[in-house]
């Protein structure tokens, strides 16, 4: 039983939703932003505003270094990955365009595309397989079928942890004159991301999941050659204030309004942490995921979703039980054992439909920074007891 009334879990296994706890450096950076960097960044030249501007500048550069973005001004801060996906899609697609998208997408992409489909954009969905993988050959077949403006795909599934073959998809897209647009919410921070190597035209990601920053901040990389229409207009604090139009220069073109200094600075601290510790962290996550998959697979009645054990995946393990509903399992994990996990459709009905779990949902355990083998052991013991009780 949880020892106190604190909402803090005994074992936090919902990193697919958001990371917790945060590295000390992130907490310190956010605290410093609130105490010492209170000026409005980019709006004044007095010391505290300038300090906030510099902190954001450095955070952007650190994130660019982590993600392999050559020019940090191509990296746009957004309120979330969802906001970044909306800008990436609505800013590039227009009525009459055709877009080819994988069937494992989260609602951050699925809903904007469903909306765009009602405005005259043709959306062609390529079915993934039962492990969640979208086969590049299937995508190529669709891209060949008709002129296509963009291929859209997630980097990794928030349901199955499946890592999509983004480099191959980007090659296919470009070979046929299409853009490659990526929702990297579950990618950045959990797998090495090198934008230059991936060769994508746009890559949106969350700041608070694998990147270890606070909630309320996301990132969007836009290729220097990509002309994206603005979706939000307003003050930027920079040049051309008298113009009725947004500046053409990045990042200001896509960052109207006061920046989220605490969030951005915290995200920068998370990125710096990952630059130093990322490789070790990825190894640890991989070990824990293997322990989790092996353990769940040995509990009678459970079926682990996604790639087979040993295949690459981001640290997400979802499972269904032949008898017990996912919501009941998650509720018991929380109430009886103090273990935080998420049940349901995970804002990814397309993905659940793809792998055949849309009617029952799944219980998802997301591993991340701060997790230990003990946490996994507690979760496995709890799952065993829940299904036998």
């Amino acid at each position: 039983m949880p020892a106190s009334s604190s909402p803090r879990p005994v074992a936090y296994l919902d990193h697919g939703a958001t990371s917790w706890p945060k590295p000390e450096q992130v907490v310190h950076a956010v605290t410093r932003a609130l105490t010492d960097l209170g000026g409005n960044p980019g709006r004044g030249a007095y010391a505290m505003a300038l300090a906030a501007s510099r902190a954001i500048f450095e955070s952007r550069r650190t994130c660019a270094e982590l993600l392999g973005v050559p020019d940090s001004s191509d990296l746009i801060f957004q309120p979330s990955c969802t906001a970044g996906c909306n800008l990436m899609l609505k800013g590039t697609l227009k009525p009459g365009d055709r877009v080819v998208v994988g069937s494992m997408e989260h609602n951050a992409v699925a809903r904007p595309l469903e909306h765009l489909a009602r405005t005259g954009i043709e959306v062609v969905v390529v079915q993934g397989d039962r492990t969640g993988l979208v086969d590049p050959d299937d995508v190529e077949r669709e891209v060949r079928a008709a002129p296509t403006r963009a291929v859209v795909c997630q980097h990794a599934s928030n349901l199955t942890g499946t890592i999509q073959l983004i480099g191959d998809l980007a090659d296919i897209a470009h070979e046929h004159g299409a853009l490659m647009l990526v929702d990297g919410a579950q990618g950045a921070g959990h797998v090495d991301v090198d934008i230059g190597v991936l060769g994508v035209d746009a890559y949106a990601t969350s700041g608070h999941k694998g990147m270890l920053g606070p909630q309320g901040v996301g990132l969007l990389y836009l290729s220097p050659d990509l002309d994206v229409r603005t979706q939000v207009e307003g003050g930027t604090g920079g040049g051309g204030s008298e113009s009725p139009d947004m500046p053409i220069e990045r990042p200001d073109r896509y960052e109207a309004g006061t920046a989220n200094t605490p969030g951005i600075v915290g995200l920068g601290a998370g990125a710096a942490f990952l630059i130093a510790e990322g490789a070790r962290q990825h190894r640890r996550e991989t070990e824990l995921v293997y322990q989790l998959i092996e353990g769940i697979s040995q509990i009678e009645g459970f079926r682990v979703l996604g790639p087979p054990a040993g295949a690459p995946r981001v640290p997400i393990v979802s499972a269904v039980h032949e008898r017990l509903e996912a919501d009941r399992i998650a509720f018991a994990l929380d109430r009886t054992y103090g273990i935080a996990a998420r049940a349901g459709l995970h804002c990814a009905p397309w993905a659940h439909r793809t792998i055949g779990t849309v009617d029952c949902g799944a219980v998802r355990l997301g591993v991340g920074w701060g997790n230990t083998s003990e946490h996994i052991g507690l979760a496995l013991r709890a799952l065993r007891e829940i299904v036998t009780s």
């Binding site: 980019g42 709006r43 030249a45 300038l50 001004s73 604090g237 920079g238 040049g239 990042p251």
Partner: protein, 82 residues
């Protein structure tokens, strides 16, 4: 009231705060002293963020370094010491 004679500085303005701070870092790293100041309305281009103030004698070198780094100066002018 008598005081010291006013000095004239050069001012460089940039389209974004990001570019201004990149320019500041570059110039300082390469030995060109600059001071961020509120962008003066007098240099035009509707700048309302920060600009960089520097010695007039350093402008030519600064221009060379900024051009090499592809950091575009959006506006320029002079300002008297304040």
């Amino acid at each position: 009231m008598s005081g010291r004679p006013l000095r004239t500085f050069a001012v460089l303005g940039f389209a974004t705060t990001h570019t201004a701070l990149a320019a500041e870092q570059l110039l300082r790293d390469l030995g060109v002293p600059v001071t961020p100041i509120p962008a003066p309305a007098s240099i035009g281009n509707g700048l309302c963020g920060i600009a960089l103030r520097l010695e007039p004698g350093d402008v030519e070198r600064a221009d060379t370094l900024l051009e090499r780094a592809e950091l575009r100066v959006a506006a320029r002018g002079d300002i008297e010491d304040v």
